[in-house]
Assembly symmetry: C2
Homo-oligomer: 149 residues x 2
DNA sequence: CTTGTCTCTACAGTCGCTTTAGACTGTAGG
DNA sequence: CCTACAGTCTAAAGCGACTGTAGAGACAAG
């Protein structure tokens, strides 16, 4: 399955992942150590492109690097059953749904702000008023905000 | 407008922002340097709570810290007009809409994945197949992924 | 041979905080 | 008063997921 070896730049283009990011993935153990040319340049087969595409796709879907590591580990134990992977996908889906809900709330609030901002002086700016408006609506939980965006 | 001075813990509770985060905001110049008690503890008036609520709300809406600094600066020059603030809100709204669109695509893909995963062995897991599926669908732009989530 | 593009390593920077460590302060109960 | 214990202080390191930089070597095309 491995055609002629490719340099890092080529698989970067092929997989749509930056060169530096590929090296980073290697450093955190997502990509494994590739062969090297005599002069020390990394050489990859097409399996590396597939792996990178897998990683990129999973990242695009919002999977954390740790989850991806798990998925890759599961992939290499084909006798296991699908349940773990299904569970990961479901968690991710719940996560995405929550983010969407949050963002939709932000969207309507921002729309309201923009609609009500009809010029005028700062002192009366509805946008600032909206922001200053400290209704404790939902969550005084002090928790991490990383779901917000 | 300034009632009896409050310790950092109290305004933390009042504004829903962690103590450490308040100190951090001070360190990056979002909050200004408060008075201190004899023993060196920070003392705030209720205006600090309002400022914190403003910051928190803006952060919840996805405004970057730099934008918030700008908004605060604008607030203190009340002769300026509303246009700059309106523009910031519009930028933010466009940003949020894009995030929502991206997330909706992820949602339907994840839904499809979960639907098609009906048990079985890893080798045939549809979720993994979806992830391995490297259709270059949209964006091989190598750009920053921070819009993704 | 020269030019220009890759590639290498190692490390610092990004953003928006959170965590840690160790010391000090303020307060309530006994 | 003493003791607990919660709150506060500073400075610095850590997080996730990369990105950017510097300086040097490698390789392909003209």
């Amino acid at each position: 399955m491995r055609g002629k070896p490719m340099t890092i730049g080529r698989i970067s283009k092929a997989a749509g992942v930056k060169v530096t990011t590929i090296r980073y993935y290697e450093s955190i153990g997502l990509m494994g150590t590739p062969d090297r040319s005599e002069s020390g340049q990394r050489l990859y087969g097409s399996d590396a492109v597939e792996r990178l595409s897998f990683i990129r796709h999973a990242r695009d879907l919002g999977f954390a690097v740790d989850s991806i590591r798990d998925l890759i580990a599961l992939q290499t134990t084909p006798e296991a059953d699908c349940a773990a992977i299904d569970a990961a996908a479901r968690r991710q889906l719940a996560n995405v749904r929550e983010r969407i809900a949050r963002l939709r709330a932000l969207q309507s609030e921002l729309e309201r702000m923009v609609r009500s901002c009809e010029g005028g002086v700062i002192a009366t700016c509805a946008v600032l008023a909206s922001l200053a408006d400290h209704d404790q609506c939902a969550s005084d939980d002090h928790g991490p905000r990383d779901l917000a965006l």
